[in-house]
């Protein structure tokens, strides 16, 4: 379903983030991208999300060559298919929980009721609806994380990408996140988590662990 075909990415300052990486992900898989910071795993996520275009090679998702799509379609693809949980959450602090979660849906100009229903579903799922009108900057770390996850799910995406999701969490919250991950896995979404947190490497519901080092795949 997701295919990286001999992908290389060199940034403007000539750093080589990825060097001839080829990967395949099947639908419904939960994959952990293992590697230290700077190894290139975040770049892979960005490429799959269409946030970056590869310097060489092709990224194909669901038979769509997203690396070749013009921005207009790329963003649309991202909106329709991807839910991204960022390392720093990237929530907008002055907006409320509800508003933040609704953001991906704003350009769709949905009916008030439809929007409301979608929001309710996802807020309930991640147990954040009791704080829906509170400004994000006033939330605790765990609540912010759940908001970020809710936002990533509000458009019911096929693919969920998480970049170092537990980097800023204590053990209790990390375990909570893993529980959420388990729940998401059972909904047949393709999930890719980039992390160097060892908590993830031994989980039994993980399908694969792929290791990246210095922009190259480490054969296992």
């Amino acid at each position: 379903m997701i295919k990286l075909d001999h992908v290389s990415k060199i940034y403007a300052n000539n750093t080589v983030a990825l060097d001839d990486v080829s990967l395949n992900f099947a639908e419904g898989e939960l994959i952990i991208l293992k590697g230290v910071s700077g190894s290139g795993k975040s770049t892979i996520l960005s490429l799959i999300a269409g946030l970056l275009k590869p310097t060489q090679g092709d990224v194909v998702v669901d038979a769509k060559h997203i690396s070749k799509l013009p921005d207009h379609f790329c963003s649309q693809y991202r909106r329709d298919n991807i839910g991204f949980i960022f390392q720093k959450y990237n929530l907008i602090p002055l907006l409320s929980v509800k508003e933040n979660i609704a953001l991906p849906l704003v350009p769709l100009n949905l009916d008030e009721d439809v929007l409301h229903v979608k929001l309710e579903i996802v807020m309930k799922m991640f147990r954040i609806e009791h704080k829906k009108d509170m400004k994000v900057k006033n939330l605790s770390g765990g609540e912010q994380q759940r908001t970020a996850i809710a936002r990533a799910n509000v458009n019911d995406p096929k693919i969920i990408l998480a970049d170092e999701p537990t980097a800023n969490l204590d053990e209790k919250l990390s375990l909570e996140f893993i529980q959420i991950l388990k729940a998401l896995k059972s909904s047949h979404k393709t999930i890719i988590v980039a992390t160097h947190d060892p908590l993830f490497f031994e989980l039994e519901f993980v399908d694969r662990v792929v290791e990246i080092n210095n922009g190259k795949l480490v054969c296992s």
């Binding site: 960005s46 999300a49 946030l51 970056l52 921005d71 207009h72 963003s75 649309q76 991202r78 909106r79 329709d80 991807i82 991204f84 960022f86 720093k88 990237n90 929530l91 907008i92 953001l103 991906p104 704003v106 350009p107 936002r151 458009n155």
Partner: protein, 360 residues
């Protein structure tokens, strides 16, 4: 946004005042006869002789000729307009016609406009006033009443009295008049009659009403053009400021846009959001500016701006409420699209930020 509102407000007040005054003056103008004949001596207006009337009446197309006796009288730094009427003549001016019908003005009484009444009362002239004649003798005229004319401009400083009495006050001879008013019912014929008149009286000054109107309009236009140029210069500066301000984005803003793009907002979506933002700002500035101007002009009576226009009269006039849609359209075009154009490039710069760069 407030700067724009202020600019719009100032320009709007200017236009409103101009429109109101224009309306007043045009209404006054409408009441004038089509052709006015004055004699000139050394390039300055002087009196005409009533015996010319018969010659003019013989011209085909001329319906009537009236001799007018009117002039200015200075009292305590204010200038009053004195108008003489003759109860037996046809009147062209509706107000004057009404007056001649309603009141019996005898030779020693007059009707005064509201502004004049106030002025006289200030100096304790409640029932009569002493005019000083050219030979320095006094003539006492009783105030028979006040009148309200159709336009404020007219009535405020006007005094109406018997023609012959006025002649005495001005020191005219018995058949002298200030000017002759020629009534021509058919507007198409005015031009040809003027030519004929000029041929008969080569040295007289012959002015048509339409020329007056055009002169007035041009005078207004030149005044407002100067003001408009000032406005444009400030608008241009404003444009530069807006452009500059919006181009320098704070890092939080950049971050936010990056986030939006990362979660699936396309470039058009960001551009659209910015456009609506700009639209709301400029529209509200426009509305606020117009409201402020309306308040300033029609409630507070436009203290400073009015004086730019009103050079001809020292009396104070309150401005009638005139709503001109074209002016509103013009102000709209000068504010909203201009602001929006200023936002295009900055918004575009923002919208095309690479989401990824911003979030690293």
């Amino acid at each position: 946004m407030f700067v724009l509102a202020l600019l719009v407000g100032i320009l709007a007040s200017f236009f409103f005042v101009e429109n109101s005054l224009k309306y007043e003056l045009e209404s006054t103008l409408d009441l004038q006869p089509q052709i006015i004949i004055t004699k000139q001596k050394a390039g300055r207006d002087t009196t005409v002789d009533e015996k010319d009337i018969n010659v003019i009446l013989n011209i085909k197309g001329v319906n009537d000729v009236l001799s007018r006796v009117w002039g200015y009288y200075r009292f305590k730094d204010k200038r009053l307009i004195l108008i003489g009427i003759d109860t037996f003549e046809n009147q062209y001016d509706d107000i004057l016609a009404k007056i001649t019908k309603s009141t019996e003005l005898n030779v020693s009484s007059m009707l005064v406009g509201e502004g004049v009444k106030k002025l006289f009362s200030q100096y304790y002239y409640h029932d009569y006033f002493n005019f000083i004649l050219p030979d320095l003798s006094l003539k006492k005229i009783f105030i028979a009443g006040t009148f309200k004319a159709t336009t404020k401009l007219e009535s405020n400083d006007m005094v109406v009295m018997n023609k012959d009495t006025l002649r005495t006050i001005f020191g005219y001879q018995y058949n002298e008049a200030t000017d002759l008013a020629v009534i021509v019912k058919n507007p198409e014929e005015v031009a040809s009659i003027m030519v004929k008149l000029q041929n008969i009286f080569p040295t007289y000054k012959i002015v048509a009403k339409k020329d007056l109107r055009i002169t007035l309009e041009n005078r207004f236009n030149s005044k407002s053009s100067i003001f408009l140029i000032l406005f444009i210069i400030s608008l241009f500066t404003f444009f530069m400021i807006v452009y500059d301000k919006l181009s320098g984005l704070s890092s939080t803003e950049k971050n936010e846009i990056g986030i939006l793009k990362a979660i699936g907002w396309r470039i058009e979506d960001v551009l659209q959001a910015r456009f609506y933002e700009g639209l709301i700002i400029s529209l509200s500035a426009y509305v606020v500016g117009i409201m402020a101007a309306l308040l300033y002009v029609y409630m507070l009576d436009a203290p400073l701006v009015k004086n730019i226009f009103l050079s001809y009269n020292d009396m104070d006039i309150s401005l009638p409420f005139i709503m001109d849609y074209e002016t509103l359209f013009l102000l709209f075009l000068l504010s909203v699209p201009v602001y929006l154009f200023a936002t295009i490039i900055p918004s575009w710069k923002v919208a095309t930020l690479d989401a990824d760069e911003v979030m690293r």
